[in-house]
Subunit: 125 residues, 2 copies
């Protein structure tokens, strides 16, 4: 299996963020990049605001990449985000055009109780 | 851009589910397929239970595929799920081995209020 350049780009996106290497992070972004957090309906427009949005994110957070998929349209990353003793799951869809990230679609799914009526098929872990 | 076979598989997974074509759906699954819903920590093991899990899902639900990414490891799908007038976002990571789905990792991120302190960078939509 060959590694797609967009898989490398997605991993570099997270490794530079984890290293607080905001210059390296910015170099991956299109000047007009748009970030959308779909659950809160928040949008950040432009490279500089988006770098600040990440650089200013509070807490001593650390991110680990769990899984990456990539194709010519961009990359998907599933991450584990640890901040102040809490663990969160992040899911990120990066659209890539000419080697630069033009769009970030971000999701942070939170735990909830399972609906009733499917215990006959399901085990819990 | 060529269409990866796993992109076709992911689209077929959802088109057969939408059509309630459970035979066609089952044909995409490995006999030992494992489904995990990470937010509820539910697990379903095996093709027949997993087909039933989907076939028995309550309500007149309809699914639309918003975005697919695929590579040799599998496919990612972002879906919009409409059930009883409600719209939900589904995010699905399918692991594919030899043309069959061996693992489904499922996420249903729900809306929440944005944290304070980033209004200077963010607009709402």
């Amino acid at each position: 299996m060959t590694i797609h350049p967009n898989a490398e780009l997605v991993r570099r996106y997270w490794s530079t963020a984890e290293a607080r290497d905001w210059e390296g992070f910015a170099a991956l972004l299109h000047p007009d990049v748009v970030y959308e957090a779909h659950q809160t309906r928040e949008r950040v427009t432009g490279r500089d605001p988006y770098v600040r949005f990440n650089a200013e994110f509070p807490g001593d957070w650390h991110v680990t990449v769990v899984r990456v998929l990539a194709d010519d349209s961009g990359g998907f990353a599933w991450t584990s985000f640890a901040v102040d003793g809490e663990e969160m799951t992040g899911l990120h869809v990066l659209t890539v055009v000419d080697g630069l990230v033009t769009k970030v679609d971000d999701f942070w799914p939170e735990p909830y109780d399972p609906p009733p009526g499917r215990d006959h098929l399901v085990e819990r872990w």
